[in-house]
């Protein structure tokens, strides 16, 4: 005997719809949400090419891709964190600290290898520290990473002593500003990590566990999933990706000072949310974050082309984040109990 359920069954009307509509409704939710966003991306490109002649030039497209790559690399790690219904507010400060550490080491020893390892290692350690604060001390993620943000900010300023380091070896700078076959190196990294990210999230059992932890951490725990380990893992990855991003950022700017990269936190989170990953956890994708990063970068690029003051950029980013979350809420309101 059927017990009446009050939630609207997903895809229940698929049987009745015909043809194209039926096909659309039969698609799983994640595919549908990415399709929407790809459409938005397409429309955005169209709009921008109509609004400004400078948009479709090779220089501009390459520029956009390079910036989107950096943003994506940072945001891909944050995606995993948000999938677990967590948040990493410290990524920007992580980038700052890792970059400054790498810069200092490079200047002091001249060794690029050492600097690269230091930057990655620093980012990773910060990520692990976040993970431990959250799992061992049971601090809510936004508090732990928010506190970490300020701690890192202070430490970075302290050892930079307000100075700027600049002038790095060309081999290093190539990471950020170099090309190969006309395409910037960061873009190759973006594609590589897109594959790695999608593979990890969708085709490994750790990825499945991460989605489960986000959907219902207690049920995951009681199913034998080592929740605490997975949480530390996602924060560690987020930190490591921040470390990677810091190297690229450093290579492109060719200089380092205390606050470099701090302004990247908001856009990184924005990219993840625009890409369809839900703040409530359990829903989202790395590919979506790529689309989100592209959308955001294009919007900001468009603002530049239209000569809108860069002071408005954080405003627009903020508004887009709020919009994205609002739309996410609308569509997902009924899903959660």
């Amino acid at each position: 005997m059927k017990t009446p359920t009050l939630s609207s069954p997903a895809g229940a009307s698929a049987q009745n719809a015909s043809g194209l509509q039926g096909l659309w409704q039969a698609l799983p939710d994640p595919v549908r949400s990415v399709a929407f966003r790809l459409l938005a991306l397409g429309l955005l490109c169209l709009a921008l090419s109509l609004a400004s002649d400078a948009f479709l030039t090779t220089t501009n497209i390459v520029n956009v891709l390079r910036q989107a790559a950096l943003l994506f690399l940072l945001a891909s790690g944050v995606t995993l964190v948000i999938l677990t219904a967590g948040l990493d507010l410290s990524v920007g400060a992580n980038v700052a600290m890792s970059a400054c550490l790498a810069a200092t080491l490079m200047k002091a020893t001249g060794s690029i290898t050492l600097a690269v390892f230091a930057g990655l290692g620093c980012g990773l350690l910060i990520g692990i520290a976040n993970g431990l604060l959250i799992t061992l001390l049971r601090l809510p993620p936004f508090i732990a990473t928010y506190g970490m943000l300020w701690i890192l900010h202070g430490v970075t300023y302290w050892f930079m002593k307000g100075e700027t380091i600049h002038g790095f070896p060309p081999a290093f700078r190539a990471i950020g500003s170099g090309h190969w076959l006309g395409i910037p190196i960061p873009v190759y990294l973006m594609v590589a990590f897109l594959f790695i990210g999608v593979l990890f999230a969708q085709r490994t059992r750790w990825g499945q566990e991460i989605y489960a932890v986000g959907a219902n951490p207690e049920a995951a725990r009681l199913s034998g999933v080592p929740v605490k380990s997975r949480l530390v893992l996602v924060y560690a990855v987020s930190g490591a990706m921040a470390g990677l991003a810091s190297l690229i950022f450093l290579a492109r700017l060719n200089s380092a000072e205390g606050d470099i990269g701090e302004a990247l936190t908001l856009p990184a989170i924005a990219a993840v949310l625009i890409g369809g990953t839900s703040l409530f956890g359990g829903v989202g994708s790395v590919f979506g974050t790529l689309v989100g990063a592209l959308i955001l970068t294009l919007v900001l690029n468009g603002m530049n082309l239209l000569a809108i003051s860069s002071n408005w950029q954080p405003v627009v980013t903020g508004v887009i984040v709020v919009l994205a979350v609002f739309l996410d809420n609308l569509t997902r309101k009924g899903d959660r109990k």
């Binding site: 017990t3 359920t5 939630s7 490994t204 009681l222 199913s223 899903d335």
Partner: protein, 509 residues
Amino acid sequence: MTIPHDPAAPATPRVPILELRGISKRFTGVQALDDVSFELHEGEVHMLLGENGAGKSTLMKVLCGAHTADAGEFFHRGEPVVIGGPADAQRLGIAVIFQEFTLVPYLSVAQNIFLGREPRGRLPGLVDHARMRREAQVIMDQLGMTLRPDTVVATLGVAQQQMVEIAKALSQQARIVVLDEPTAALSDNETEKLFAMIETLKRQGVAMVYISHRMAEVFSMGDRITVLRDGKKVGFRMPGETAPDELVSLMVGRKVDMSYSRTYCAAPGELALRLQGVSARSGIQDVSLEVRAGEIVGLAGLVGSGRTEVARAIFGADPIAAGRIEIFGRPQTGGPTQARRLGAALIPESRKAQGLALIRSVGENLVLASLPRLFPSGLFSPSKAAAQARELITRLRIATPGPDRRVGVLSGGNQQKVVIGKWLSAEAKLFIFDEPTRGIDVGAKAEIFSLIDALVRKGAAVLMISSELSEIVNVCDRTYVMREGRVAGELARDAMSEEAILTLGMHHA
């Protein structure tokens, strides 16, 4: 329609204090209430029975104004009225005591009683705390409560919080009080106090709608009984004219044989689970028990006696402070991950909150506990996962069009099967069931029990917690009875009866 009335009541038919005629309420896709008519008289305790999903909670919400009815009429003492929102319900003197309390943890008892209606102080917006305390005390005295009005609610136990809820209802001059399974979380002592309070309210002429699943209460406290099924009113009886079996068949729609017969285990196999002197901060003390392969061992006891805590301790969900747990001879000292590795499985009390990820698909839930086993290299193959899911769906007869359906839309019984399936996929050999048939309609209950029976026939071991004594008596090979955190006793098959279990589970009284 003539109203059957209590022979002791005055012969002239009274106007009901509240009458519902043809109330209907529809949610998307579901007719939650369908032409329900219902009368409530002053001073009566009107029992409302029905399975989960029958419409009881929707009816409650309509009564208190949280939902508005789509069709139908309300009459208050014969006058037509409208219940469009909480304010209307309050004005009519209707108060609902939900199972999830509407108390603010860090406010005092008095503040909670008067939430939203605090007595005004000298200046607008100010609250007269002294007067609030006095008036709260008056109500609490009427109900025989011994708390101080200044006590912070967060420091109170469940039973006391429930009394604060009732005091809150009374303070609103409630003449109609709806109680939703009020004794579900109460001890015997507390239940007696509650019943005394109900008697007081009856004498004052307050009308009560009392929702319960416990037949004993229904017959001892009820003046009249209404049964709902699938949103419709299917029966109205006086307690003296009916029996539990009839009520159950009204609730279910067919004659139901309440005995789940099975072949009991003649020769238990290896020792699957052994507890020795286990104590934990969760409240259990010095618990020792054994479960062998092939048996269904019951864990009975009143609510709050520590059964779930034992289950959680075994599975590593809560840490233990003393004692030893062995699963298939190997010590269990870690968390759920280790328990799973040792072959244990926990089907938790609340499948939605603890057993399933509702927004994930049936297939994703089914493989969640067996990811390391199915994908030892770490690489996850969706097709392999789907195949495993389909096999389990067929084997357990889970009613879903496919593994991709979101598990949150399945019915309770099918959701429970997904939880069981999850552990079958993990090749568990020791199953701990915590209230396996709670919130599941009677038809699906039988299926769950035959599933459990199939498990032990194939050599698994089962420890089953249930609050339904008939289930324990009929299904289990033997049972332990818990009382106040300790094992009060063990009953072998021939000694098992509902009376024996109750006696062991209660205080010497």
